[in-house]
Symmetry: C2
Protein backbone atom coordinates (compact mmCIF):
# COMPACT_ATOMS: atom_id res chain seq x y z
CA UNK A 1 0.00 0.00 0.00
CA UNK A 2 2.81 2.38 0.78
CA UNK A 3 5.10 3.16 -2.10
CA UNK A 4 8.39 1.38 -1.72
CA UNK A 5 11.59 2.86 -2.93
CA UNK A 6 13.12 0.79 -5.68
CA UNK A 7 16.83 1.55 -5.22
CA UNK A 8 18.26 -0.50 -8.07
CA UNK A 9 17.41 -3.76 -9.73
CA UNK A 10 19.97 -6.28 -8.55
CA UNK A 11 21.30 -8.22 -11.52
CA UNK A 12 19.29 -11.40 -12.01
CA UNK A 13 20.92 -14.78 -12.36
CA UNK A 14 20.14 -16.96 -15.32
CA UNK A 15 17.58 -19.05 -13.49
CA UNK A 16 15.95 -15.93 -12.13
CA UNK A 17 15.70 -14.46 -15.58
CA UNK A 18 14.12 -17.72 -16.71
CA UNK A 19 11.64 -17.60 -13.85
CA UNK A 20 10.74 -14.06 -14.70
CA UNK A 21 10.07 -14.94 -18.33
CA UNK A 22 8.10 -17.98 -17.28
CA UNK A 23 5.89 -15.83 -15.08
CA UNK A 24 5.36 -13.27 -17.82
CA UNK A 25 4.45 -16.02 -20.27
CA UNK A 26 2.04 -17.67 -17.85
CA UNK A 27 0.43 -14.34 -17.07
CA UNK A 28 0.01 -13.42 -20.72
CA UNK A 29 -1.44 -16.83 -21.48
CA UNK A 30 -4.00 -16.61 -18.69
CA UNK A 31 -4.83 -13.07 -19.72
CA UNK A 32 -5.38 -14.42 -23.22
CA UNK A 33 -8.50 -16.17 -22.05
CA UNK A 34 -10.68 -14.18 -19.76
CA UNK A 35 -8.79 -10.92 -19.54
CA UNK A 36 -8.03 -9.14 -16.29
CA UNK A 37 -10.12 -11.32 -14.04
CA UNK A 38 -8.76 -14.53 -15.47
CA UNK A 39 -5.27 -13.62 -14.34
CA UNK A 40 -5.37 -15.14 -10.88
CA UNK A 41 -2.16 -14.98 -8.97
CA UNK A 42 -2.34 -18.57 -7.70
CA UNK A 43 -2.91 -19.81 -11.22
CA UNK A 44 -0.11 -17.69 -12.61
CA UNK A 45 2.29 -19.03 -10.01
CA UNK A 46 1.09 -22.53 -10.72
CA UNK A 47 1.37 -22.25 -14.48
CA UNK A 48 4.80 -20.68 -14.14
CA UNK A 49 5.94 -23.48 -11.86
CA UNK A 50 6.74 -21.11 -9.06
CA UNK A 51 5.53 -20.58 -5.51
CA UNK A 52 3.07 -17.81 -4.81
CA UNK A 53 5.57 -16.03 -2.61
CA UNK A 54 8.11 -16.08 -5.40
CA UNK A 55 5.64 -14.60 -7.84
CA UNK A 56 5.12 -11.76 -5.41
CA UNK A 57 8.84 -11.31 -5.03
CA UNK A 58 9.14 -10.77 -8.76
CA UNK A 59 5.98 -8.72 -9.20
CA UNK A 60 4.70 -7.07 -6.07
CA UNK A 61 1.11 -7.03 -7.27
CA UNK A 62 -1.17 -8.25 -10.01
CA UNK A 63 -1.13 -4.80 -11.55
CA UNK A 64 2.67 -4.77 -11.54
CA UNK A 65 2.64 -8.09 -13.33
CA UNK A 66 0.22 -6.98 -16.00
CA UNK A 67 2.00 -3.70 -16.56
CA UNK A 68 5.23 -5.64 -16.98
CA UNK A 69 3.49 -7.84 -19.53
CA UNK A 70 2.37 -4.74 -21.38
CA UNK A 71 5.90 -3.40 -21.33
CA UNK A 72 7.08 -6.67 -22.78
CA UNK A 73 4.51 -6.60 -25.57
CA UNK A 74 5.23 -2.98 -26.35
CA UNK A 75 8.90 -3.77 -26.72
CA UNK A 76 8.08 -6.42 -29.31
CA UNK A 77 5.86 -3.97 -31.11
CA UNK A 78 8.55 -1.35 -31.06
CA UNK A 79 11.04 -3.72 -32.65
CA UNK A 80 8.52 -4.77 -35.27
CA UNK A 81 7.75 -1.17 -36.10
CA UNK A 82 11.42 -0.32 -36.38
CA UNK A 83 11.76 -3.05 -38.95
CA UNK A 84 8.69 -2.02 -40.87
CA UNK A 85 8.15 1.66 -40.30
CA UNK A 86 4.88 3.25 -41.39
CA UNK A 87 5.04 4.77 -44.84
CA UNK A 88 2.79 7.79 -44.83
CA UNK A 89 3.29 11.13 -46.50
CA UNK A 90 3.04 13.25 -43.40
CA UNK A 91 3.57 12.70 -39.72
CA UNK A 92 -0.13 12.58 -38.92
CA UNK A 93 -0.72 9.75 -41.36
CA UNK A 94 2.24 7.80 -40.07
CA UNK A 95 1.16 8.11 -36.47
CA UNK A 96 -2.40 7.12 -37.31
CA UNK A 97 -1.15 4.15 -39.27
CA UNK A 98 1.14 3.12 -36.42
CA UNK A 99 -1.61 3.30 -33.85
CA UNK A 100 -4.05 1.45 -36.03
CA UNK A 101 -1.48 -1.23 -36.57
CA UNK A 102 -1.02 -1.53 -32.83
CA UNK A 103 -4.76 -1.59 -32.50
CA UNK A 104 -5.08 -4.47 -34.92
CA UNK A 105 -2.44 -6.34 -32.98
CA UNK A 106 -4.51 -5.88 -29.85
CA UNK A 107 -7.67 -6.95 -31.65
CA UNK A 108 -6.06 -10.30 -32.26
CA UNK A 109 -6.12 -10.93 -28.53
CA UNK A 110 -8.74 -8.69 -26.99
CA UNK A 111 -8.63 -10.47 -23.65
CA UNK A 112 -4.94 -9.84 -23.27
CA UNK A 113 -5.51 -6.25 -24.29
CA UNK A 114 -8.22 -5.95 -21.70
CA UNK A 115 -5.99 -7.23 -18.94
CA UNK A 116 -3.10 -4.98 -19.86
CA UNK A 117 -5.03 -1.78 -20.42
CA UNK A 118 -7.24 -2.17 -17.38
CA UNK A 119 -4.15 -2.75 -15.26
CA UNK A 120 -2.50 0.28 -16.76
CA UNK A 121 -5.31 2.68 -16.01
CA UNK A 122 -6.12 1.12 -12.67
CA UNK A 123 -2.55 1.39 -11.44
CA UNK A 124 -2.11 3.65 -8.46
CA UNK A 125 0.88 5.66 -7.32
CA UNK A 126 2.71 2.54 -6.18
CA UNK A 127 3.08 1.41 -9.77
CA UNK A 128 4.03 4.79 -11.16
CA UNK A 129 7.59 3.93 -12.18
CA UNK A 130 6.44 0.93 -14.16
CA UNK A 131 3.55 2.75 -15.74
CA UNK A 132 5.91 5.55 -16.59
CA UNK A 133 8.19 3.12 -18.37
CA UNK A 134 5.26 1.99 -20.49
CA UNK A 135 4.38 5.58 -21.17
CA UNK A 136 7.90 6.39 -22.27
CA UNK A 137 7.87 3.43 -24.60
CA UNK A 138 4.62 4.57 -26.13
CA UNK A 139 5.97 8.07 -26.51
CA UNK A 140 9.05 6.71 -28.21
CA UNK A 141 6.91 4.77 -30.66
CA UNK A 142 4.83 7.81 -31.52
CA UNK A 143 7.86 10.04 -31.84
CA UNK A 144 9.45 7.46 -34.11
CA UNK A 145 6.42 7.61 -36.34
CA UNK A 146 6.57 11.38 -36.36
CA UNK A 147 10.27 11.22 -37.16
CA UNK A 148 10.89 13.84 -34.53
CA UNK A 149 14.17 14.13 -32.70
CA UNK A 150 13.82 17.26 -30.63
CA UNK A 151 10.17 17.84 -29.93
CA UNK A 152 9.01 21.19 -28.62
CA UNK A 153 6.78 21.65 -25.60
CA UNK A 154 3.77 21.93 -27.87
CA UNK A 155 4.67 18.80 -29.75
CA UNK A 156 5.14 16.89 -26.52
CA UNK A 157 1.73 17.99 -25.39
CA UNK A 158 0.28 16.81 -28.67
CA UNK A 159 1.94 13.45 -28.18
CA UNK A 160 0.51 13.23 -24.68
CA UNK A 161 -2.96 14.01 -25.98
CA UNK A 162 -2.54 11.31 -28.59
CA UNK A 163 -1.56 8.84 -25.93
CA UNK A 164 -4.46 9.87 -23.75
CA UNK A 165 -6.81 9.34 -26.63
CA UNK A 166 -5.20 6.05 -27.48
CA UNK A 167 -5.57 4.62 -24.00
CA UNK A 168 -9.03 5.90 -23.38
CA UNK A 169 -10.34 4.89 -26.78
CA UNK A 170 -8.95 1.43 -26.16
CA UNK A 171 -10.82 1.28 -22.88
CA UNK A 172 -14.11 2.31 -24.38
CA UNK A 173 -13.66 -0.18 -27.19
CA UNK A 174 -12.79 -2.97 -24.79
CA UNK A 175 -15.84 -2.30 -22.68
CA UNK A 176 -18.02 -2.38 -25.77
CA UNK A 177 -19.01 1.25 -25.69
CA UNK A 178 -17.24 2.34 -28.82
CA UNK A 179 -17.00 0.62 -32.20
CA UNK A 180 -13.84 -0.10 -34.07
CA UNK A 181 -14.86 2.46 -36.66
CA UNK A 182 -15.20 5.08 -33.95
CA UNK A 183 -11.80 4.23 -32.54
CA UNK A 184 -10.35 4.65 -35.99
CA UNK A 185 -12.06 7.97 -36.46
CA UNK A 186 -10.96 9.18 -33.04
CA UNK A 187 -7.36 8.30 -33.76
CA UNK A 188 -7.46 10.06 -37.08
CA UNK A 189 -9.11 13.03 -35.46
CA UNK A 190 -6.52 13.39 -32.75
CA UNK A 191 -3.75 12.98 -35.27
CA UNK A 192 -5.13 16.11 -36.87
CA UNK A 193 -3.34 17.94 -34.08
CA UNK A 194 0.00 16.97 -35.53
CA UNK A 195 0.23 18.60 -38.91
CA UNK A 196 -0.51 22.27 -38.58
CA UNK A 197 2.95 23.56 -37.70
CA UNK A 198 1.49 26.93 -36.75
CA UNK A 199 2.11 27.86 -33.13
CA UNK A 200 -0.80 27.73 -30.75
CA UNK A 201 -2.41 31.14 -30.46
Amino acid sequence: MTAEARPAAPPLTERQEARRRSILRAGAQLAGRGGFEAVQMREVADAAGVALGTLYRYFPSKVHLLVAIMQDQLQHLHVTLRRQPPAGDDAAQRVAETLMRAFRALQRDPHLADAMVRALTFADRGVSPEVDAVSRLTTAIVLDAMELENPTQEQLSVVRVIEHTWHSALITWLSGRESIAQVKRDIETVCGLIDPPAGTR
Copy 2:
Protein backbone atom coordinates in the same frame (compact mmCIF):
# COMPACT_ATOMS: atom_id res chain seq x y z
CA MET B 1 -19.63 -11.89 -14.00
CA THR B 2 -22.27 -12.30 -16.69
CA ALA B 3 -23.95 -9.13 -17.85
CA GLU B 4 -27.47 -8.95 -16.51
CA ALA B 5 -30.25 -7.41 -18.45
CA ARG B 6 -31.63 -4.35 -16.73
CA PRO B 7 -35.21 -4.35 -18.01
CA ALA B 8 -36.53 -1.25 -16.32
CA ALA B 9 -35.93 0.53 -13.07
CA PRO B 10 -38.95 -0.14 -10.90
CA PRO B 11 -40.09 3.09 -9.31
CA LEU B 12 -38.52 3.52 -5.90
CA THR B 13 -40.55 4.28 -2.84
CA GLU B 14 -39.70 7.25 -0.70
CA ARG B 15 -37.73 5.24 1.82
CA GLN B 16 -35.89 3.49 -0.94
CA GLU B 17 -34.95 6.78 -2.48
CA ALA B 18 -33.73 7.90 0.93
CA ARG B 19 -31.65 4.72 1.30
CA ARG B 20 -30.14 5.23 -2.08
CA ARG B 21 -29.13 8.80 -1.26
CA SER B 22 -27.78 7.69 2.07
CA ILE B 23 -25.61 5.09 0.38
CA LEU B 24 -24.34 7.57 -2.18
CA ARG B 25 -23.52 10.04 0.56
CA ALA B 26 -21.72 7.45 2.66
CA GLY B 27 -19.76 6.25 -0.34
CA ALA B 28 -18.72 9.75 -1.33
CA GLN B 29 -17.69 10.53 2.21
CA LEU B 30 -15.53 7.43 2.50
CA ALA B 31 -14.05 8.12 -0.91
CA GLY B 32 -13.24 11.60 0.33
CA ARG B 33 -10.62 10.15 2.60
CA GLY B 34 -8.47 7.48 1.05
CA GLY B 35 -9.92 7.29 -2.43
CA PHE B 36 -10.85 4.07 -4.16
CA GLU B 37 -9.41 1.70 -1.59
CA ALA B 38 -11.00 3.50 1.32
CA VAL B 39 -14.44 2.77 -0.06
CA GLN B 40 -15.04 -0.56 1.60
CA MET B 41 -18.41 -2.05 1.04
CA ARG B 42 -18.89 -3.11 4.66
CA GLU B 43 -18.07 0.38 5.84
CA VAL B 44 -20.32 1.99 3.26
CA ALA B 45 -23.21 -0.21 4.33
CA ASP B 46 -22.44 0.55 7.93
CA ALA B 47 -22.17 4.31 7.44
CA ALA B 48 -25.34 4.32 5.38
CA GLY B 49 -27.18 2.39 8.06
CA VAL B 50 -28.03 -0.41 5.74
CA ALA B 51 -27.25 -4.12 5.54
CA LEU B 52 -24.53 -5.30 3.22
CA GLY B 53 -27.01 -7.28 1.17
CA THR B 54 -29.12 -4.17 0.71
CA LEU B 55 -26.16 -2.18 -0.47
CA TYR B 56 -25.58 -4.84 -3.09
CA ARG B 57 -29.21 -4.76 -4.10
CA TYR B 58 -28.93 -1.06 -4.84
CA PHE B 59 -25.47 -1.17 -6.38
CA PRO B 60 -24.40 -4.55 -7.68
CA SER B 61 -20.70 -3.82 -7.22
CA LYS B 62 -18.28 -1.33 -5.79
CA VAL B 63 -17.64 -0.01 -9.28
CA HIS B 64 -21.36 0.46 -9.88
CA LEU B 65 -21.56 2.44 -6.68
CA LEU B 66 -18.66 4.72 -7.54
CA VAL B 67 -19.87 5.28 -11.06
CA ALA B 68 -23.25 6.24 -9.65
CA ILE B 69 -21.51 8.68 -7.33
CA MET B 70 -19.73 10.16 -10.29
CA GLN B 71 -23.00 10.51 -12.14
CA ASP B 72 -24.42 12.31 -9.15
CA GLN B 73 -21.51 14.73 -8.94
CA LEU B 74 -21.60 15.37 -12.67
CA GLN B 75 -25.24 16.25 -12.44
CA HIS B 76 -24.45 18.86 -9.81
CA LEU B 77 -21.67 20.20 -11.98
CA HIS B 78 -23.97 20.36 -14.97
CA VAL B 79 -26.51 22.39 -13.05
CA THR B 80 -23.82 24.73 -11.76
CA LEU B 81 -22.44 25.22 -15.22
CA ARG B 82 -25.88 25.94 -16.63
CA ARG B 83 -26.24 28.70 -14.07
CA GLN B 84 -22.81 30.13 -14.73
CA PRO B 85 -21.85 29.26 -18.26
CA PRO B 86 -18.28 29.81 -19.41
CA ALA B 87 -17.73 33.15 -21.08
CA GLY B 88 -15.11 32.63 -23.76
CA ASP B 89 -14.91 34.15 -27.19
CA ASP B 90 -14.81 30.92 -29.12
CA ALA B 91 -15.92 27.38 -28.49
CA ALA B 92 -12.41 26.10 -27.79
CA GLN B 93 -11.90 28.61 -25.01
CA ARG B 94 -15.25 27.87 -23.46
CA VAL B 95 -14.64 24.13 -23.46
CA ALA B 96 -11.18 24.54 -22.00
CA GLU B 97 -12.53 26.82 -19.32
CA THR B 98 -15.32 24.40 -18.52
CA LEU B 99 -12.98 21.47 -18.20
CA MET B 100 -10.52 23.40 -16.09
CA ARG B 101 -13.35 24.47 -13.86
CA ALA B 102 -14.35 20.84 -13.45
CA PHE B 103 -10.74 20.01 -12.83
CA ARG B 104 -10.48 22.56 -10.05
CA ALA B 105 -13.62 21.10 -8.50
CA LEU B 106 -11.94 17.70 -8.51
CA GLN B 107 -8.76 19.14 -7.07
CA ARG B 108 -10.73 20.19 -4.04
CA ASP B 109 -11.26 16.53 -3.24
CA PRO B 110 -8.58 14.51 -4.98
CA HIS B 111 -9.43 11.35 -3.09
CA LEU B 112 -13.01 11.41 -4.26
CA ALA B 113 -11.79 12.13 -7.76
CA ASP B 114 -9.45 9.18 -7.53
CA ALA B 115 -12.21 6.82 -6.48
CA MET B 116 -14.60 7.97 -9.18
CA VAL B 117 -12.18 8.08 -12.07
CA ARG B 118 -10.49 4.81 -11.24
CA ALA B 119 -13.88 3.15 -11.02
CA LEU B 120 -14.89 4.67 -14.32
CA THR B 121 -11.91 3.40 -16.26
CA PHE B 122 -11.80 0.09 -14.46
CA ALA B 123 -15.42 -0.67 -15.20
CA ASP B 124 -15.94 -3.71 -17.38
CA ARG B 125 -18.79 -4.56 -19.73
CA GLY B 126 -21.12 -5.27 -16.85
CA VAL B 127 -21.16 -1.59 -15.97
CA SER B 128 -21.43 -0.30 -19.52
CA PRO B 129 -24.90 1.21 -19.23
CA GLU B 130 -23.92 3.21 -16.17
CA VAL B 131 -20.60 4.30 -17.62
CA ASP B 132 -22.43 5.27 -20.76
CA ALA B 133 -24.74 7.47 -18.77
CA VAL B 134 -21.74 9.26 -17.32
CA SER B 135 -20.29 9.59 -20.77
CA ARG B 136 -23.49 11.11 -22.13
CA LEU B 137 -23.52 13.58 -19.29
CA THR B 138 -19.96 14.60 -20.02
CA THR B 139 -20.77 14.94 -23.69
CA ALA B 140 -23.74 17.11 -22.86
CA ILE B 141 -21.56 19.37 -20.74
CA VAL B 142 -18.99 19.76 -23.49
CA LEU B 143 -21.63 20.34 -26.15
CA ASP B 144 -23.20 22.96 -23.92
CA ALA B 145 -19.87 24.74 -23.71
CA MET B 146 -19.53 24.56 -27.47
CA GLU B 147 -23.05 25.84 -27.88
CA LEU B 148 -23.69 23.20 -30.47
CA GLU B 149 -27.13 21.82 -31.14
CA ASN B 150 -26.64 19.52 -34.10
CA PRO B 151 -23.08 18.28 -34.11
CA THR B 152 -21.67 16.62 -37.18
CA GLN B 153 -19.85 13.29 -37.19
CA GLU B 154 -16.55 15.13 -37.13
CA GLN B 155 -17.59 17.30 -34.24
CA LEU B 156 -18.77 14.29 -32.28
CA SER B 157 -15.43 12.64 -32.83
CA VAL B 158 -13.70 15.76 -31.59
CA VAL B 159 -15.86 15.72 -28.49
CA ARG B 160 -15.00 12.07 -27.91
CA VAL B 161 -11.32 12.82 -28.24
CA ILE B 162 -11.70 15.64 -25.75
CA GLU B 163 -13.38 13.28 -23.32
CA HIS B 164 -10.69 10.68 -23.84
CA THR B 165 -8.05 13.25 -23.08
CA TRP B 166 -9.97 14.51 -20.11
CA HIS B 167 -10.29 11.09 -18.50
CA SER B 168 -6.81 9.94 -19.24
CA ALA B 169 -5.18 13.19 -18.19
CA LEU B 170 -7.10 12.97 -14.95
CA ILE B 171 -5.75 9.48 -14.38
CA THR B 172 -2.17 10.47 -14.99
CA TRP B 173 -2.56 13.47 -12.73
CA LEU B 174 -4.14 11.39 -9.99
CA SER B 175 -1.36 8.85 -10.11
CA GLY B 176 1.20 11.63 -9.85
CA ARG B 177 2.67 11.16 -13.29
CA GLU B 178 1.52 14.44 -14.78
CA SER B 179 1.51 17.89 -13.25
CA ILE B 180 -1.41 20.23 -13.08
CA ALA B 181 0.31 22.48 -15.58
CA GLN B 182 0.62 19.61 -18.00
CA VAL B 183 -3.03 18.72 -17.59
CA LYS B 184 -3.91 22.30 -18.36
CA ARG B 185 -1.71 22.33 -21.41
CA ASP B 186 -3.11 19.03 -22.62
CA ILE B 187 -6.65 20.26 -22.30
CA GLU B 188 -5.85 23.44 -24.17
CA THR B 189 -4.06 21.43 -26.80
CA VAL B 190 -6.93 19.07 -27.42
CA CYS B 191 -9.34 21.98 -27.51
CA GLY B 192 -7.33 23.16 -30.49
CA LEU B 193 -9.25 20.54 -32.43
CA ILE B 194 -12.43 22.48 -32.02
CA ASP B 195 -11.94 25.76 -33.81
CA PRO B 196 -10.78 25.06 -37.34
CA PRO B 197 -14.15 24.68 -39.02
CA ALA B 198 -12.47 23.39 -42.17
CA GLY B 199 -13.47 19.82 -43.02
CA THR B 200 -10.91 17.09 -42.43
CA ARG B 201 -8.90 16.32 -45.52
